[in-house]
Amino acid sequence: MDLRMRFFGGIGLTISAIYVVRWLVAALALGFPLFLAAQDGPGNPVKGDATALEKGRVLFRIHCASCHGIDGSGGRGPSLTTSSVREAKDKELFAIIRRGIPDSEMPSFWFKGQDIQAWQVIEALRSLSPTSEIPSAGNAESGKQAFVQAGCVTCHAVQGQGGRLGPDLTRVSRSRSVEHLRQSIRLASAELTTNYQTVTVKTLANQTVRGILLNEDAFTLQMMDTTERVLAFHRKDLQQARHDAASLMPDYPREALPDALLDDIVAFFFEIGSH
């Protein structure tokens, strides 16, 4: 098969105007209540099917576990074992799996055009052991102060205030587990966040500029430097352009940030993220 970059998000726009008109006429002819019922969806067609559950677990391990954890308890992605997921309707989960979540790191899973696989994954999701999100042990108010005092706001915004070099952390607790947040603060370079690739360029005038990559192609490179200047280069004006494995964010070992303060900062994220 030929694999290409796919844009999964778009729903097919191939339906002609005639089809739309016909569809509307048909819907009206059938009566609107029926139409609304159809929109509500039939639920999971493989509900209670043991084989489907097994297939779904395999698919989950391949496609979901790297972010949501092998047991669904979260990591880079949020926990899927909480009540908000358990209480979600099948069709809502189906829509998220197939379309992804815009402006988030949750991609769409098209499963080679096979709806059945998305339903199998939902069946596996339903089988996860329920847990409640373990709240951070810290004090959010103290965490807020520590967040400011440690200089985090230089690069990170919360609630509209702060820098642009790092991700906005206002809602970070909705997509990261407590443990993942703790680890990310201790050792940011362990995993660079999508869209925050560190880049270093050296101009023909021997100037070295470091920052985050905004975009690049074979001829140009766009970046934000550490003073938040947005710079657009032609590669011909650069001696070198390098992706760095290390994050711009410094590590925060225990000596720099005691465990108690770390817990406080994480608690602060959960506090502001819950609003």
Binding site: H63, G113, I116, A218, F219
Partner: protein, 535 residues
């Protein structure tokens, strides 16, 4: 008398001021290299060089190249992947979802369009894409995503005949451009991810009557069937979804064959799995196999070898040879003797971990640790392949072979899977390896040695093909939307245009009104370039 003279003058004038439609004969295609103003078959000529001898556009003036026109029909899911055909100023272009357009090649204005109504729901691995058309006489040939072959009246777009080649509900589709050879139109099927049994079909161009079918997996009792354990041959894939090449002197058709299925689970299909991942040489009149060469026996990584076989003649090891060169998805560049299929040489193109090398007979030395498991293994090249369907080019001016390559390792999972008709049959899955860098490049290699001459890198993988010119240049593009010209010997970039859409198609060249043009598809736009008239 005066009236007749007047009409004659008018008609003569019409020849120069209007685009007049004309037919395409088999001898036109045979001698396509002598009429570079036309582009009559997918790769330009039967040897699949994708090379133009038009010489208006040269290294010293290419910086003046400008957009002459763009064609953007209503956008559709997926994107343009086709190479247009041109005959006497008429352009024929196929788009995804089985749409065909005839255009005035001077202006890009539409003359007619055809659309084939498709089923609402289809199981497809890779979208409703189409890569091009074939033409003979007054007919255009489209191989459809719902597994039909359709002949259209090239003048009007009306359907002249259509035949059902296979059942799309069983996973069979067509995405490639057909190839016309003599009085037949030849098509290869997809379905390697759906447990289809691949085939190459020939139909009589005039009537649509079936001429022959070559099963890419031999049936019981036929040589090669024993290379499939048990009944695995029935669902073994081995599709043929691109366009082949043809040597009229040897009367041999060369066609690349795709991956065996299920893609990543090999325990249930032990054996070499012939003729998956091979190139086959067929007699184009009867469809009989003359020879084959298998690149990747018992493949576990979706290393389709459907890639375009490039035919060239050269002295090799002191002997004049008819050669066949393929840049393969499995990470190696191969050179074969196309008379006999004899293996001559393989050279590694990219990072390779699935094999430890290639032995003297051309057979890979497998790495037993590179077999996909339930927990996943990292393998190079990954499922994208070292290259893919985008066309390479051979330039007789630089004697170099140009290809777009991927450097992308992936994590492959292998899992047993029960076959269900019409459902995808991967036997596992694949994903990106977190933190593993991936990039693309245009690479120039010496086809006789496989040695790299130069490379131009892109930060992302790309699916754009290559056109070479007799003025010593190559044109190609990338996934970021740049279309560019490079000097063919050095790789120096001479010109580029950001098109703003991903280029997943192969460029071509034609002439109209005596001026050379270059066309390439970018996302949902067909862009045609020419030098300004006042050059």
């Amino acid at each position: 008398m005066i009236l007749v003279r007047y009409l004659t003058t008018l008609l003569a004038m019409a020849g120069s001021i209007a685009v007049a439609w004309s037919q395409v004969s088999y001898s036109d295609i045979l001698s396509a290299q002598n009429t570079p103003g036309d582009w009559l078959t997918y790769s330009g000529t039967y040897n699949s060089w994708r090379h133009t001898t038009l010489s208006d556009i040269r290294p010293e003036n290419v910086h003046k190249l400008a957009v002459a026109w763009m064609f953007q029909p209503p956008a559709s899911q997926d994107r343009f992947e086709a190479t247009p055909l041109v005959k006497d100023g008429w352009m024929y272009f196929s788009a995804q979802s089985n749409r065909v357009f005839a255009l005035d090649a001077r202006s890009g204005r539409q003359i007619w369009s055809y659309v084939r109504r498709l089923p609402g729901s289809m199981n497809l691995c890779c979208g409703r894409v189409n890569r091009g058309l074939a033409i003979l006489g007054d007919k255009l040939f489209l191989a459809t995503i719902d597994a039909h072959v359709v002949a259209l009246d090239a003048k009007t777009g009306r359907v002249m005949w259509e035949v059902k080649a296979a059942d799309y509900q069983k996973g069979y589709t067509f995405t490639g451009a057909p190839l016309v050879v003599k009085d037949k139109v030849i098509v290869g099927v997809t379905g390697g991810e759906y447990g289809a049994r691949g085939f190459i079909d020939a139909y009589f161009a005039e009537s649509g009557k079936p001429a022959w079918r070559f099963h890419t997996i031999p049936g019981p009792g036929e040589p090669g069937n024993e290379t499939w354990a048990g009944d695995s041959w029935k669902t073994g894939g081995a599709p043929a979804w691109l366009t082949g090449s043809f040597d009229p002197e040897l009367n041999l058709l060369y066609w690349g064959i795709g991956n065996p299925g299920p893609d990543h689970w090999i325990a249930d299909r032990k054996g070499d799995n012939l003729y998956s991942n091979s190139v086959v040489a067929l007699d184009p009149d009867q469809g009989r196999l003359t020879w084959y060469f298998q690149f990747t026996p018992n493949d576990a990584h979706d290393y389709d070898s459907t890639l375009i076989p490039v035919l060239l003649d050269a002295d090799y090891a002191g002997q004049a040879r008819k050669l066949l060169a393929v840049a393969n998805r499995n990470g190696f560049f191969y050179l074969l003797d196309r008379t006999s299929g004899e293996f001559l040489r393989a050279k590694q193109l990219t990072r390779v971990t699935w094999a430890k090398g290639i032995d003297k007979t051309g057979r890979p030395i497998p790495n037993p640790e590179a077999v996909p498991t339930a927990t996943g293994i990292d393998v190079c090249p990954g499922v994208l392949g070292a290259t893919n369907w985008m066309s390479p080019s051979f330039s007789p001016v630089t004697n170099l072979f140009y290809l777009t390559l991927h450097e992308a390792c992936r994590r492959h999972f292998g899992l047993p899977q029960e076959f269900e008709e019409g459902q995808s049959f991967w036997g596992g899955a694949h994903q990106k390896i977190p933190g593993s860098p991936e990039w693309g490049a245009l690479r120039a290699v010496d086809p006789l040695t496989g040695e790299t001459q130069w490379e131009f890198r892109y930060p992302h993988t790309a699916f754009a093909g290559v056109l070479s010119t007799s003025t010593g240049m190559v044109f190609s593009g990338d996934g970021d939307g740049n279309f560019f010209a490079a000097e063919g010997r050095s790789g120096e970039i001479l010109w580029h245009l950001p098109t703003g859409g991903s280029i997943c198609a192969s460029p071509m060249s034609f002439a109209v009104d005596g001026r050379q043009h270059i066309s390439v598809a970018s996302q949902n736009a067909l862009i045609t370039f020419a030098l300004p008239k006042d050059r």
